[in-house]
């Protein structure tokens, strides 16, 4: 994944800093609440939503089970339609393939449609090292790129910025920004339109991802809003699409499910403004498809964790997550933040760093993410599964072992309770060591003189 995140501290430390940032908290709260309500409204419009959700889940599971077969079918269809298919087992190989393809065109500039896969592999940085400049064209990506910032949301990478901050960035970093630029969203969008217009019209090479690939027909599908996607997919002579191998759907018909699930879950619209579909080389273009593994087959091997590969990157889970709402995306140290990031990042990158080990614990397991997931990824279950795989701190291991020992025999529990009851007056208001994390902001309950079981014994179940 993108190297910008290397060496970041663990989630709790990043989060502690983020929750102190009142501007960030305000921006996130406002934005996530807006989208949450919009989503609920348009999802509520479809009486068959649960059926669509179950179908979406099953189509993805079936595809993953037969992924080898469908990838080969896709390759045949794309090739038959005049496209070229490349296979990349990791980020380095994908970046190499793309850089070589761009170099072969003789161009040193490319325009890009927002794509999670190319962010994941750090493509922009890799191209830069080869003397190729990649221009992000999605408004939010542009804000992030101009602000020399990190994306913090899957759908809206600049969600952590409000209109005033965006105006500042534009005035500061966009040479052609109109001097009297206001912070009206309409004016800001207009500034971006003017800034990118020339670049679109002269671009020779574009790089995209894809939301879906249809194995049966070799069709690629890109959903977007602004028209920057259409500009990139349509105008340049060469189009290179980098797509994760899990983005496959078996048949054209399956789109009838996903073109309903994705827009409503993602932007909270009945349909996003633009969806482009094409098969192979279209309208005289050169078309290259780079199929990306980069850890996905490893995720696929995990019986519980593999459901994360159903993800269609809608970001509904981010928008309802109480943790994300308070920390923002940067705390997760990955291009995939929020609940889905907490299960995807440790699986794709492994859990060798302190940060990646901390991600499965970045959740109160409240289950709001699972409830809104359009492909029913049981995120809490996967989190718990990953927690079991993480290496635990020694003090915690000892504590858990001790608790386990006490709970294995009820007499031990009863003895511990009697001891606690006798010590009840001696418990301090502020606990020492790791338990101070509790008493920093909360009182501990009064320890009762007598446990329930002691009361039951003494009174024979309250009958005496």
């Amino acid at each position: 994944m993108s190297k910008t995140f290397v060496g970041m501290p663990a989630f709790p430390k990043n989060a502690a800093k983020a929750v102190q940032d009142s501007q960030l908290r305000f921006n996130l709260r406002k934005a996530t609440r807006t989208i949450r309500n919009k989503r609920a409204l348009v999802v509520g419009e479809l009486a068959d939503w649960p059926g669509l959700r179950q179908a979406g889940k099953a189509i993805k599971d079936h595809t993953l089970r037969n992924l080898d077969r469908y990838l080969i079918q896709l390759e045949e269809a794309v090739t038959a339609a005049g496209g070229h298919v490349h296979w990349a087992k990791d980020a380095a190989e994908a970046n190499r393939i793309v850089a070589d393809l761009v170099k072969a065109t003789g161009e040193t500039e490319v325009v890009k449609v927002k794509s999670m896969a190319t962010q994941e592999i750090g493509l922009n940085e890799a191209l830069e090292a080869e003397g190729i400049t990649a221009y992000e064209t999605d408004l939010a990506e542009l804000i992030v790129q101009l602000g020399d910032d990190w994306p913090s949301h899957i759908l809206v990478p600049a969600i952590h910025r409000n209109r005033a901050e965006i105006r500042e960035i534009f005035l500061d970093k966009m040479p052609d920004a109109p001097p009297g630029l206001t912070d009206e969203p309409r004016a800001l969008a207009e500034a971006a339109r003017l800034h990118l217009r020339e670049r679109f019209l002269r671009a020779k090479v574009a790089i995209s991802g894809a939301n879906f690939m249809i194995a049966e027909t070799g069709t690629l599908v890109v959903l977007e809003s602004e028209g920057n996607g259409r500009m990139c997919l349509t105008l340049p002579r060469t189009l290179i699409s980098v797509v994760g191998i899990e983005k496959l759907l078996p048949t054209w018909r399956d789109l009838e499910v996903f073109l309903q699930l994705l827009p409503r879950s993602s932007t909270g619209e009945r349909m996003n403004p633009y969806t482009s579909t094409w098969a192979g080389a279209t309208e005289g273009q050169d078309f290259h498809l780079v199929l990306l593994d980069n850890g996905r087959t490893g995720v696929l091997a995990d019986e519980v964790g593999r459901q994360a590969l159903r993800c269609i990157r809608c970001s509904a889970c981010l928008n309802v997550c109480p943790v994300y709402e308070r920390t923002g995306g940067h705390a997760y140290g990955s291009v995939y933040p929020g609940p889905i990031g907490a299960i995807l990042t440790p699986q794709l990158r492994g859990m060798s760093t302190e940060l990646d080990r901390s991600l499965p614990f970045a959740s109160s397991l409240c289950g709001a993410c699972y409830e809104v997931c359009p492909v029913a990824i049981d995120i809490p279950t996967v989190l718990v599964e990953l927690r079991a795989k993480a290496r635990h701190p020694r003090a915690e291991r000892l504590g858990m072992a001790a608790a386990g020992w006490v709970f294995t025999r009820s007499v031990r529990l009863a003895r511990a309770q009697r001891f606690g009851g006798r010590m009840r007056r001696l418990v301090p208001k502020r606990l020492p060591g790791p338990m101070s994390a509790w008493t920093d902001t909360r009182d501990i309950p009064d320890i009762p003189r007598e446990s329930f079981r002691a009361w039951w014994d003494r009174t024979e179940g309250g009958t005496r």
Binding site: H392, T408, L413, T441
Partner: protein, 242 residues
Amino acid sequence: MRVALFITCVNDTLFPGTGQAVVTLLRRLGVDVDFPPAQTCCGQMHVNTGYPKEGGRLARQFMDVFAGYEAVVIPSGSCAAMVREQYPRLIGAAIGNAPDTSCDPKVYELSEFLVDVLGVVDVGAYFPHWVTYHPTCHSLRGLRLGDRPRKLLENVRGLELVPLPGAEECCGFGGTFAVKNKDVSAAMCADKVGNVLSTGAEVLCAADNSCLMHIGGTLRRQKSGIRVMHLAEILATTEGGR
């Protein structure tokens, strides 16, 4: 009807009053309550913190202890959800009212048992106070308790139920999350507390003492004067005292 009470380790150790209230309430409704003394903990803390081996051992212990019972009543949404939702996957346990099974024991959270099994919503309680109800995540999204607790509270004489803004949002407890991610946990709780205070209620009620310990601990630190009470404690209260 004879049912077993699984009191949960937290209630047993820290909130015996809740257990006593459950016993009082169920007896009043004609239920014969048994307390198998070998019970300890459902294993939720271990499993959810990443210790499935220890948690699995406790889960098997639970299944042994409650093997002979038709029904187990649990006055905790999250422990009931743990048993019913997680045991089948964790240890292959057969829980009677988990999806696709039909056997004993069946596991009920208290309000489910009252409304679904006993078929009562008016338990004859009297509690003349302004009360707001926090549905708690595992009750809401795990067990899908729906409006059962609300129906029970609405039928308590004297009780004024005040809606809680943002009720379905997590309070930030999350077991060891409250300690491992204390800053986010506290920030979530601050918002929950703000919502509770905005209701003007005197009592915050929930079907889970763990969440109440977290919210209540914050309320007490702030000297808010708002009491937290388990649903059972309100339902057990009658006009002439218990």
